[in-house]
């Protein structure tokens, strides 16, 4: 008995030794920076000359910063449209391409391709496609007699353009996740449902959708985080304009920290954003847990 304990102890010690490098790196590059940022959010740190403790000054200023709350409204609007569409389109694509037929792999690849392009490069191409006079989108519209808007320059359409471009780029990878999820659904469930006379819609409603719950949870959580951290596309496509309708929190944090050197204030903004992401992820978790998948 005692020798077993000794062996266990030895193994445990070796195990700790093995995970030490990872944990050290994790601490050095994740935990410590987060704690530092939290501390910085209570200072007037400017990278170069000062780091005085200013208590809650940054957070007080935050409450009165209309622009910061405007950016939150912007990403909220973005999320409300982007996240459901993202789930819907990638699920539909996945179900469409979840067959073993000739050529299906080609279509899967093609749907995945936009994900491989760099966000900035793709956004640059989209600026072209969306150009009001010479862009492909408005040219196509003009064939059916519609004068298209200046997509990126008009307050009404700017955010929709960004939603469109980010959807185009993100449905591919979510489709792959959903295909994997679909292939994990056991066939016998469908067979017995068919025997019981369930229609195709019933099978989707009572088998596919509940079975995909963990997958949907993953996709929706990633979408929430991604949506709240929107930056690249908004930066390249519209630079936050016109009239601040596409300015996002991350954009503002970047500007405050690196252009104005107010790292303390930027850290406070970043913490509020992190908190928002945490809250929405938790809500999402609750919603998903309410209906556990049937096995």
């Amino acid at each position: 008995m005692s020798s077993m304990g000794k062996l266990n102890k030895h193994q445990a010690r070796t195990a700790y030794l093995f995970i030490t490098p990872t944990m050290l790196l994790f601490a050095a590059f994740t935990i410590i920076p987060v704690i530092m940022a939290l501390y910085l959010s209570f200072t007037n740190y400017d990278v170069v000359s000062r780091m005085d403790f200013v208590k809650f000054d940054n957070y007080k200023r935050l409450l009165q910063d209309d622009l910061f709350w405007t950016t939150f409204k912007n990403v909220a609007f973005y999320s409300v449209i982007f996240i459901p569409l993202n789930i819907l389109i990638s699920l539909l694509l996945a179900m469409l391409l979840n067959f073993r037929r000739f050529g299906v792999k080609l279509f899967r690849t093609m749907n995945y391709l936009p994900t491989l392009t760099s966000a900035v490069a793709a956004a640059t191409v989209w600026i072209w496609l969306l150009h009001p006079e010479f862009g492909l989108v408005n040219n196509l519209l003009s064939y059916v007699g519609i004068t298209g808007p200046a997509w990126l320059a008009q307050t009404e359409t700017a955010m929709f353009s960004i939603i469109m471009v980010t959807l185009w780029q993100s449905v591919g990878s979510n489709m792959v996740i959903y295909i994997a999820g679909l292939q994990g659904v056991p066939d016998y469930l469908y067979e017995s449902a068919k025997l019981d006379g369930a229609t195709a819609f019933d099978r989707f409603r009572y088998i596919t959708w509940p079975q995909l719950r963990p997958t949907t949870f993953l996709v929706s959580t990633m979408s929430i985080i991604g949506a709240l951290q929107l930056f690249d596309q908004a930066f390249v496509l519209t630079q936050g304009g016109p009239g601040n309708v596409t300015k996002t929190p991350v954009y503002l944090i970047y500007q405050q920290g690196f252009n104005q050197l107010q790292m303390g204030y930027a850290s406070a903004q970043a913490f509020v954003l992190a908190l928002a992401i945490l809250i929405f992820s938790l809500i999402n978790m609750r919603l998903s847990k309410s209906e556990e998948p049937i096995v």
Partner: protein
């Protein structure tokens, strides 16, 4: 035994990581660290001693790549050949300002820095730049030889922090062919500009084929405001000063051009880069831009016959343009400030070298004697810019100015141009938000 090896391996990893993190390694004291980090510290801490005959090595940081990098290297090579005491090396830094900040705190600052001048008011108070007044006095260099506005932009609290390398300002570029076809002369006043724009604009149904005049950049508000006789900031440089009759006259001028005369369409030029530039392709008759576009436009030769005139004057005959450009500064953390000054002096305060720089890079140097050269005096493209620079003003030197312009003024102007709010609301909201931003960003010490 195994455990000991693991621990040693771990220690080695940590050692390397630590050595990689700190820039100012102390050479050779810990014999245990591996040879890689030793080599690094040896080459890093070369102690330039100008008396010993060995040349002092200077690091010169800039964020111009491609053509710009070649132009810098031409100048650096010429300087290195001109004497044997100082060796300069150009290092391209993509994210220069961020790197400069971290380097300033960790001790790896360069000796000479290429500097977008408007940043001075934000960085000089933080003591990361070295004032050059003493060098200037010791060498008897006259401030009169430089553009006063450019020097003003490099000054903070009566101290001068660098010398101007280039100066620029926007002037009116016009397509000669389009204007001739419409039978109009290049405009000299707002009214003439409006008439010329109306006559050169061509619509095909709901499609704009040729825009008479570009209204794509609301960031030029400052320039128009000067032409209307106004100023962006109050006398004491603490508050905005555009919610005035002058500000109103700019906005009603824009409103007329865009919404009544319809000489432009919002978003018309967005995303059109080089090669598809609306001005190059004859889809735009007139626009405000600066000397930095000359080399691009000249490439098109006969296909693009264009001229330049100084910006048209406003209703009361006021002239206005905004001066910008770059300078060279010496970081406070640099180890060879005297040698760095020699390099800056050679480049920016010497007629021949400033001219060589001008011809290499097609920029207007900040050193006025160089502009006496026929290269500038007799050139129809340079002349209007030199005339414009005579009255061009820098952006107000307030650390919060650029944030104020970008976050308070431009978004409201965009809403105004899309008829989302009235002239009064636009100016009112810009002023309120602008004053707040100026206040929030005023304290930089």
């Amino acid at each position: 035994m195994k455990k000991q090896i693991t621990i040693m391996a771990l220690a080695a990893i940590l050692g390397v990581t630590a050595a990689g993190c700190s820039n100012n390694g102390n050479a050779g004291t810990d014999a245990g660290t591996n040879s890689g980090s030793n080599a690094e510290t040896n080459s890093g801490s070369k102690n330039g001693d100008s008396g010993s005959g060995k040349p002092v090595e200077l690091t010169f940081w800039g964020d111009w790549g491609g053509e710009g990098q070649k132009q810098f290297e031409t100048m650096v090579d010429a300087f290195n050949k001109s004497q044997d005491k100082i060796r300069v090396k150009y290092v391209l830094q993509q994210d220069m300002i961020t790197k400069f900040l971290t380097a300033s705190t960790s001790g790896g600052a360069p000796d000479v820095l290429f500097w977008d001048r408007w940043r001075t008011s934000l960085y000089a108070p933080k003591n990361v730049l070295h004032p050059i007044d003493e060098f200037l006095a010791a060498d008897g260099i006259s401030k009169e030889d430089f553009y006063g506005e450019a020097l003003k932009e490099l000054t903070y609290n009566e101290k001068l922090y660098g010398l101007p390398l280039t100066v620029d300002a926007r002037a009116l570029f016009y397509n000669k062919k389009i204007l001739a076809d419409a039978g109009v002369e290049p405009p000299t006043t707002w009214d003439e500009l409006e008439q010329a724009a109306i006559k050169t604009t061509k619509w095909n149904g709901s499609k704009l084929e040729v825009a008479g005049f570009s209204l794509g950049d609301p960031g030029l508000f400052n320039m128009y405001l000067q032409q209307a006789g106004g100023q962006m900031m109050s006398e004491d440089n603490t508050k905005t000063n555009f919610n005035t009759d002058q500000g109103k006259s700019v906005l009603s001028f824009w409103d007329r051009l865009l919404n009544e005369d319809k000489v432009y369409k919002t978003g018309f030029e967005q995303g059109l880069g080089e090669g598809t530039d609306a001005f190059v392709t004859g889809k735009l008759a007139m626009q405000y831009t600066g000397p930095w576009m000359l080399s691009t436009y000249k490439k098109y030769g006969k296909d693009l016959d264009f001229g330049i005139v100084p910006p048209p004057v406003g209703p009361n005959g006021d002239k206005g343009s905004v001066m910008g450009g770059f300078g060279l500064v010496i970081p406070e953390g640099g180890k060879h400030q005297k040698e760095a000054w020699e390099f800056i002096k050679w480049w920016t305060a010497n007629k021949d070298n400033a001219l060589l720089w001008a011809k290499t890079s097609l920029n207007i140097p900040g050193y006025k004697p160089a502009l006496e050269d026929p290269f500038f005096k007799d050139d129809p493209f340079w002349k209007p810019f030199l005339d414009t620079l005579e009255f061009a003003k820098i952006r107000p030197a307030h650390p919060g100015y650029s944030v104020m312009e970008n976050d308070a003024v431009i978004p409201n102007l965009q809403l105004f141009l899309q008829k989302k709010q009235s002239i009064e609301d636009t100016l009112e909201k810009s002023q309120k938000r602008g004053d707040q931003l100026l206040l929030d960003n005023a304290d930089v010490k």
